[in-house]
């Protein structure tokens, strides 16, 4: 599947109907999702035939893309009923059989809950900007326990130095695969601008 085809398919994925600000719900744009997945698949071969986890999956755009790229199975994790409802609807519409879902709170998992169960973790975690500071690092920490090969994640570029230090502490290798501009259209009433560009790093973490 070509990048443009993947992006085109992902444009059909329904996003949050009424995003919940405290959960920091923002959809991952089809363009960013497609670029991420395409790289993970073509450059690193970490999707096809692999057991993939999508943490904070929301409405499922990353999982659906991974499933289309023939993941052995992609398991989405999210806390929110409404998001999971939309994810279900999406996966039914796309008639995907290699997707599963778990409703849970990523921040209150025991450290060994899913340890080393997955080949790859893919995620666009909450950035920790809404009274949930540090949430991005919690997600990352959990993701690293779950994956045997690699963790792919999006984080604010402004936190790159901090994350690199943590990666060193944890003994994992961090690569900045790309710097993206995350275009966030006004989705909450308090948003004053029509849209805003946030500089975001697409990172790959591995144990080797």
């Amino acid at each position: 599947m070509k990048l443009k085809e993947l992006e085109s398919c992902l444009q059909q994925v329904d996003a949050f109907e009424e995003p919940k600000i405290l959960l920091e719900q923002y959809p991952t744009s089809p363009h960013i999702a497609a670029c991420m997945l395409y790289t993970i698949h073509n450059t690193f071969d970490d999707i096809e035939g692999k057991l993939v986890a999508d943490l904070g999956c929301g409405c499922g755009v990353l999982s659906i893309g991974a499933a289309m790229l023939d993941a052995g199975l992609c398991v989405g994790f999210d806390i929110d009923d409404d998001a999971l409802e939309i994810f279900k609807r999406n996966s039914e519409e796309f008639e995907l059989t290699n997707i599963d879902l778990i409703q849970c709170d990523m921040c209150s998992l025991r450290s060994h809950a899913y340890a080393k169960k997955f080949d790859t973790v893919i995620m666009n975690p909450p950035f920790g900007t809404k009274h949930n500071q540090g949430m991005d690092m919690q997600f990352l920490r959990t993701a690293l326990t779950m994956a045997t090969t690699a963790v792919y994640s999006l984080h604010k570029t402004s936190t790159r130095g901090h994350i690199q230090k943590k990666a060193n502490d944890w003994g994992v290798k961090m690569e900045v695969i790309a710097e993206l501009r995350y275009d966030l259209p006004a989705s909450y009433k308090f948003h004053k601008k029509k849209s805003v560009d946030i500089k975001v790093d697409f990172l790959r973490f591995s144990t080797t």
């Binding site: 035939g49 692999k50 057991l51 023939d70 052995g72 199975l73 398991v75 806390i79 999971l84 409802e85 279900k88 059989t97 290699n98 599963d100 879902l101 778990i102 409703q103 849970c104 709170d105 209150s108 998992l109 025991r110 809950a113 899913y114 080393k116 169960k117």
Partner: protein, 123 residues
């Protein structure tokens, strides 16, 4: 909820030391066709708690001829891998619940999604 996913799930209710495996009480089960990838199935096998898988499949009435003990040299055994594939990926629990073997706490499964969220007093 597929049985590959179920195989990973544990109860973390406060005070519980052995929250695995979760007992499946299913009211609706579906079997669908999923593309067979022998390499994927073969790589998943070492990660599985085999007896928990057999117990889960049996409880759903979908054990068929899956052996109670893992066979040796399964990597090239296509017939065996197909049986495992069916149980891991094609059998899905749509409605029902998962019961913690120690505390008895039930985690509901609704539209195929197990809800593992704990209440404040259980976490």
């Amino acid at each position: 909820m597929k049985l590959l996913t179920h195989n990973m799930l544990t109860s973390h209710v406060k005070g519980v030391t052995k929250g695995y495996p979760l007992l499946i009480k299913a009211t609706e089960v579906k079997v669908s066709e999923v593309e067979f990838n022998p390499n994927f199935v073969s790589r998943m096998i070492p990660k599985l708690e085999w007896s928990a898988l057999v117990q889960a499949a049996d409880g759903l009435g979908h054990l068929q001829d899956l052996p109670a003990e893992l066979v040796t040299d399964y990597e090239k055994n296509e017939e065996f891998l197909r049986k495992v594939h069916r149980v891991l990926l094609e059998v899905e629990v749509l409605e029902g619940c998962l019961q913690c073997p120690e505390s008895g706490r039930e985690f509901p499964i609704s539209r195929g999604v197990p809800n593992m969220l704990l209440n404040e007093d259980e976490a």
